[in-house]
Amino acid sequence: MMQPVYISAASALSPQHSFGTDAPLQPVMSSDNGRLYVQDADYSKFINPVAIRRMSRMLKIGISTGMDCLRQSGIEKPDGIITGTGRGSMRDMEIFLGDMLRLKEEALNPTYFIQSTYNSINGWLALQTKCTGYNQTYVHRGHSLEMALLDAQLLLNETTDKQHYLVGSFDEFTDEYFVVKNKIGYWKQPTPHSLDLYKHNDTPGSIGGEGSAFFMVTNEKENALFSIAALQMLQDYTPAEVDATITRILEENKILLRDVDVILCGMSGDSRFDGIYKPLFNNTTVHTTVGAFKHLCGEYDTSTGFALWLAAQAFKTQQVPDAIIQKKGINPSVKTVLIVNHYILNSASVMLLRANS
């Protein structure tokens, strides 16, 4: 059995106020056009001015989140950088492919091509931190961030040295992506207001979103915010399999469901997928708070990152923001959090988090 790993810092740029603020999720941001975009930050604080002029929005978002996480953790140079992304820098790719058609594959700008590669954020973070250690980007759709976390867990389980890995995720939403994915039923019709997403859970589709989240993952327990006690990915699952996985994880960690203080559900309001969350609502007792997060960040491949950041905030402040609560529990503190998330195309994940005690 794998040893747990610890999270000592968390940073997120999201459609909510989540970055560089003492009052996260205040005020709650929403939209009525089916799209939730990241709240931009002052990226020039994190990226040198010569480099920033050439960077796309996705690069600025990803690099700034990673650098902010490093700053919070007090680690200048991590032992490695591991990320996950479902789509990489979409806008750069769209511009490059558009130019290929428009200019008949002649005189193409190199910058868009260079930046559209999935690992460009990792590369920039490595350059900025002078980190020549392990550097990996996972592009595994709805399991991208989970794979990055698992990789860090495996690396940390193989060593007795104290090590720190910068692990993160980033995904970008574009108008073009909205149009393309609309053709295959990704988005709800008619478009609901984002905060009313779950009122429309009897129809297929969701709302689109984007975001970036970075975490300092370490085997050093001291000063950690919480640990990842278990991480399980499921592909082509049934709701019963997800339920059985949750039961097994709780049993292996000797935790009763009533002792789970918060469950963060990745409900997307999509009638085709939200069935996996029903047992969580039905089986939880008055003790557990059940929350949801996709009405705040939208649906995207690595939305687990936003949920993990929310969990970090809950551990840090010992409070669960009203904006995420779907069913309020009576447990007075936040010691155990369960994240259950799914993504279109039948991938799901379950993550058990425990306060550092």
Binding site: R53, R54, P110, T111
Partner: protein, 85 residues
């Protein structure tokens, strides 16, 4: 020639996204790389693309490219002699 230099400076600013910079901020004879504008190797690729798209000039010899991209003045002179568009 003077008009070409101003147009070229504008194209460089747009192509390289030199925010907050105006054509008059760029000295005709100042080096584009290193101490001058502080451009780098990716910028040089972008400028090769600029020459090809806007003036039909394709520079395939790296040594020649280095000479041409020394300054706005050297670029303008080369464009005047070799432009196809």
């Amino acid at each position: 020639m003077e008009d070409l230099k101003v147009t070229l400076k504008q194209q460089i600013i747009e192509s390289l996204n030199l925010q907050g910079m105006k054509p008059e901020d760029i000295d005709d004879n100042a080096p584009l790389f290193g101490e001058g504008l502080g451009l780098d190797s990716i910028d040089s690729l972008e400028m090769m693309v600029l020459l090809e798209r806007n003036y039909g000039i394709k520079i395939e010899d790296a040594r020649e490219g280095r000479k041409v991209l020394q300054s706005v003045a050297s670029m303008a002179e080369y464009i005047q002699q070799h432009r196809k568009i």
